[in-house]
């Protein structure tokens, strides 16, 4: 390498390092300050776990967390099923009427501003209720439907890209040996794409757990999710309990992602779902 390119790469390395610092400094500061004994969030008063204790004694937060976990589990599961179907249809079913439409409906939710998605789903639910009497009121069901819809898109994209990179010879061999389409799918295709489905499920779970805007539109009274409670608290300013909660969530997510990557690395070569980052 010539000296000029070396100088250039030094500049690049420095700016990349600064970029990573930028990505992580706020998270690290948040974690450190969650152990701050002082009530004044910015004054350091020594190490303490008291905000964690306060957090677990806060019934409002604990209830909301439980509601959110239930919603996230159900939505992620529904989204994994529907998204796998959509991804499979888009990459293995050849041409059919409405394929372009389906492809558009799968990619558009990834970038659609959340306020639009939230408002439109709420208005749909209200219109449906006055026409068919369902869904009666708004609450967990409507949040689950909303979350399933946008998470489905992520799963579909991940599954589709996995299928596109997959060699079809295995599936063709099974077909030649007389496998029925259903057993072909469940015995050959599904195991091959299962890493993609698992990462799609995990992603859906975290996205659902994190959604504030859409849930605010489609939830009913008494069904506050965790982000809704956090938002109403932090709107008024920084609170040490939320710092503790944030730390716990960050640690949980980090452990889960690392574990998932580790397990899948051992079983199978799998890319971390990059495409899924299209939010």
């Amino acid at each position: 390498m010539s000296s000029t390119t070396k100088g250039q790469s030094k500049f690049l390395l420095a700016s990349a390092g600064a970029g990573f610092l930028f990505l992580y400094a706020p998270i690290i500061a948040l974690i450190i300050y969650s152990f701050n004994a002082s009530k004044l969030v910015t004054v350091w008063g020594g190490w303490s776990f008291k905000w964690y204790v306060a957090l677990f004694q806060n019934e409002q937060i604990m209830n909301a967390a439980w509601v959110s976990l239930k919603i996230a589990f159900i939505s992620a599961t529904l989204a994994a099923v529907l998204g796998t179907m959509a991804g499979f249809v888009l990459s293995r079913m050849g041409l059919f009427k409405g394929k372009t439409l389906l492809a558009g409906w799968v990619t558009a939710p990834l970038v659609m501003p959340e306020v639009i998605t939230g408002l439109s789903l709420l208005l749909l639910f209200v219109a449906m209720e006055s026409l068919f009497g369902w869904p009666a009121g708004r609450g967990m069901t409507t949040i689950i439907i909303a979350h399933t819809t946008f998470c489905l898109a992520y799963v579909a994209v991940v599954v589709q890209s996995r299928l596109a990179s997959l060699d079809v010879t295995l599936e063709e061999a099974a077909m030649d040996l007389g496998a029925k389409p259903s057993s072909l799918f469940f015995l050959i295709t599904l195991p091959l794409i299962s890493p993609a489905i698992v990462s799609g499920w995990l992603l859906s779970f975290t996205l659902s757990l994190d959604d504030l805007v859409i849930a605010s539109f489609v939830s009913g009274p008494g069904n506050s999710t965790l982000p809704m409670v956090i938002f109403s608290k932090v709107r008024l300013g920084v609170t040490p309990e939320v710092n503790a909660l944030a730390t716990l969530m960050i640690v949980a997510v980090t452990v889960a992602v690392l574990a998932a990557v580790f397990i899948m690395r051992r079983q199978n070569k799998i890319e971390i779902p990059r495409h899924s980052c299209w939010r």
């Binding site: 690049l12 939710p109 970038v111 932090v234």
Partner: protein, 308 residues
């Protein structure tokens, strides 16, 4: 190559001949998305043509059927749209949202490019570590990452304390509740969306091309402008769209980091809906936002098609 083999493969041909199962697998996701993604937009459009009234639900019916006299009335109003264009407030909000989104997209590109480049050019072990480091913040809560900046940017927050301790400023400066904080928040939270598509294109780039350019006498910046940038163009476009489109309608960031004078259309839609309870007006705001964004969204879809 992959695509063409897939298209003509016997597998796909076989799967195309099975009818009932095939129909089921196609119809279920289609119907779900039609009902919960597409039709809602039609409902929003319909309600944007009605009037806000005090009732449940708070908008006037558009179509009424009088059973005794047997006649139907259709009542639509363009008043919401007229109001949108007459009041400079809304127009300003759209322009300011687009401006904030454009500027933050450019900054995100400038911050993200070196990171993506370094990742793409590092050894394979290092590469997966760095990639994981970029992806990890994306998996952690968006809301909490925005919130983290509130603690940093406050009057007595860490950034002010730091700047004062190194003597750069002697009075804390107002950073929270300013447009600056909104730009920072958008760049920070959307950075992974920029880095990943950039990385994908840069990874495929042949380093020999740059060396060839330099051997032929190009200076580093010339090689960069004439070789690297054109090759990275698909990634740059994809990354910019992934940041720009959602940033235009962003709500959480201006609500938590912006000031009362930070005009962003996502926040105005939210306020129309939750504070004013004016559902038709909120719908009209959403429809105009969709019209602004439909071009970039279509453009992104076409780009995707080529990339796949």
């Amino acid at each position: 190559m992959m695509n063409s083999t897939l298209k003509n493969s016997r597998l796909v041909n076989r799967l195309m001949t099975i009818n009932i199962g095939r129909l089921f697998v196609i119809l279920v996701p289609m119907l779900w998305l039609a009902t919960f993604f597409f039709i809602p937009f039609l409902v929003v459009f319909k309600i944007s043509l009605s009037e806000a009234i005090i009732a449940v639900p708070p908008y006037s019916p558009i179509f009424e059927w009088d059973a005794t006299d047997e006649y139907a009335t259709l009542k639509i109003t363009f008043g919401n749209y007229l109001f949108l264009f007459e009041e400079y407030f809304y127009l300003d909000a759209y322009l300011s949202s687009v401006k904030i989104a454009v500027i933050s997209t450019i900054i995100t590109l400038l911050v993200g490019f070196p990171i993506a480049y370094v990742i793409a050019k590092s050894s394979s072990t290092m590469r997966s570590i760095l990639l994981a480091l970029v992806i990890l913040p994306f998996w952690t809560s968006f809301l909490l990452r925005v919130y983290a900046w509130m603690g940093l940017l406050k009057k007595n927050g860490l950034v002010n304390e730091f700047l004062m301790s190194i003597g750069l400023i002697d009075q804390p400066i107002q950073m929270l509740q300013t447009d600056f904080a909104v730009y920072l928040g958008i760049v920070y939270t959307y950075l992974p969306f920029m880095i990943l598509p950039l990385y994908t294109t840069l990874e495929k780039m042949d380093l020999n091309l740059i060396e060839a350019a330099q051997d032929l006498g190009a200076k580093p910046y010339q090689a960069f402008c004439l070789v690297t940038l054109p090759l990275a163009k698909p990634g740059i476009i994809a990354g910019c769209l992934l940041v720009f489109i959602p940033a235009v309608g962003e709500f959480v960031i201006p609500a938590l980091l912006g000031g009362s004078d930070t005009l962003m259309i996502g926040r105005i839609l939210w306020d129309e809906f939750f504070l004013n309870r004016d559902w038709p007006m909120a719908s009209a705001v959403a429809i105009i936002m969709l019209i602004v964004l439909v071009g970039p969204i279509m453009f992104m879809r076409n780009g995707n098609k080529e990339a796949v």
